[in-house]
Structures are given as C-alpha cells and as structure tokens.
C-alpha cells in the first residue's frame, strides 16, 4: 500500500515564530500531486497548499511554503510568522495524476503559544 507518513503527532510554536511540519510519502508514480490540508476544531478541511510533482519550484502561499524533495519523497510545510489562527490539525496528502484517491497521513496537531 502506498502510504503517507507524518512523524510528528504534535508540535507547538510560539506566536510569530516559524515551524516546520514533516511529511514523507511512498509512490511508484512519476506524476502526482501533494497537498497540505488544515483542519481546525470546526472539522472543515481547508486546502493550505498544493504541489505538482513535475514542478521543481517549491509552492508558496503567503506565510505557508513547502520544501519538496522528490528524490527523498519528502514534502514538509513551513509556517512563518505563526498566528493563533494557525492552531489546527494539519494533514499531508498525496494524489496521483491518474488516481482519484487522496492518501492522507495521520496528521500533526499544531498548537500556537501566545
């Protein structure tokens, strides 16, 4: 089975500081997508950032950026200038170019300390 692994069940960060969440994945495909979703206590799954595997440039969305290492099958999320509203569960997910299924990691619970 192709898996997505998030090795940090919980993380904490001081407000205004930077934190990095780790994700590794397994795939036999050459073309695929990677995502980070945020799930606050409301349960809503919110897309944070998306990376296409064929693009070498790391994706960036405002305070959120990724470090995509294709050979190492690693996809970490960096949150800069952390805010209280960033506190949530963060899920890493992989989708195939020809597959309709997203495979999710177990999530990392991020706490932001005022």
């Amino acid at each position: 089975a192709q898996t997505v692994t998030q090795s940090q069940p919980e993380m904490s960060v001081q407000e205004a500081e930077t934190v990095t969440l780790s994700c590794t994945y397994d795939t036999s495909e050459s073309d695929y997508y990677l995502f980070w979703y945020k799930q606050p206590p409301s349960r809503q799954m919110i897309l944070v950032i998306r990376q296409e595997a064929y693009k070498q440039q790391n994706a960036t969305e405002n305070r959120f950026s990724v470090n995509f290492q294709k050979a190492a099958k690693s996809f970490s999320l960096k949150i800069s200038d952390s805010q209280l509203g960033d506190a949530a569960m963060y899920f890493c997910a992989r989708g195939g170019a020809g597959s309709y299924q997203l495979t999710f990691g177990k999530g990392t619970k991020l706490s932001v300390i005022p």
Binding site: Y37, L47, L102, F104
Partner: protein, 111 residues
C-alpha cells in the same frame, strides 16, 4: 457559491438502522468523493464518482452504497448501521483528479 454542502451535521443511529448522508456541490465538478475520518486518523476513501451515472469503490466501501444521478448530488447510503461506522464523513469534489474541496462533514454515531 456555497461550495460543497452536507446534511445533516450530526446524527445518532441505532444498530441496524439505515440512513442517507446528503452531499451537494455547486461548482460543476465532475468528480465527487466520500471519505470517512476515524479518531486520530487521516481520511479514507469510501466511494467516488467521475460523473453522473458512474461510481466506483474506494479503500473502505463495505457497508455503504452510493448513486450519482446528477452532477450536483452524491448521496451516501448506510444500510444496517454498525458501531464500526461511527465516524466523521466528508464529501468532496474536484474539477479533475487534482485538488479536492471538502464539505463541512457529518458526525455519525451508531449506538
């Protein structure tokens, strides 16, 4: 543009009862999905559809059925509810096999 909507938000069922979880999207997406999320876990795919009249099984389809008669709607049917189906259910949609947009979820408890 409401995106993906799900009803109900919460439901408690007795063992053996049946129910339908409703999902509607107004983004004209061809692809729709049902996932379940168990405590402490990521989401797992139950069923998906690539267009009206076309559905297929995901990773955990047992105990569920789906239908897709229109582009907008993708209901999930639970027959003979069991405690193992206690979970949070998410519907999602996408334009292609790419970014999926999720509804707010339905918390189901089977007692």
């Amino acid at each position: 543009n409401a995106g993906v909507t799900q009803t109900p938000k919460f439901r408690i069922l007795k063992i053996g009862q049946s129910m339908t979880l409703q999902c509607t999207q107004d983004m004209n997406h061809n692809y729709m999905y049902w996932y379940r999320q168990d405590p402490g876990m990521g989401l797992k795919l139950i069923y998906y559809s690539v267009g009206a009249g076309i559905t297929d099984k995901g990773e955990v389809p047992n105990g569920y059925n789906v239908s897709r008669s229109t582009t907008e709607d993708f209901p999930l049917r639970l027959e003979l509810a069991a405690p193992s189906q206690t979970s949070v259910y998410f519907c999602a949609s996408s334009y292609s096999a790419d970014t999926q947009y999720f509804g707010p979820g339905t918390r189901l408890t089977v007692l």
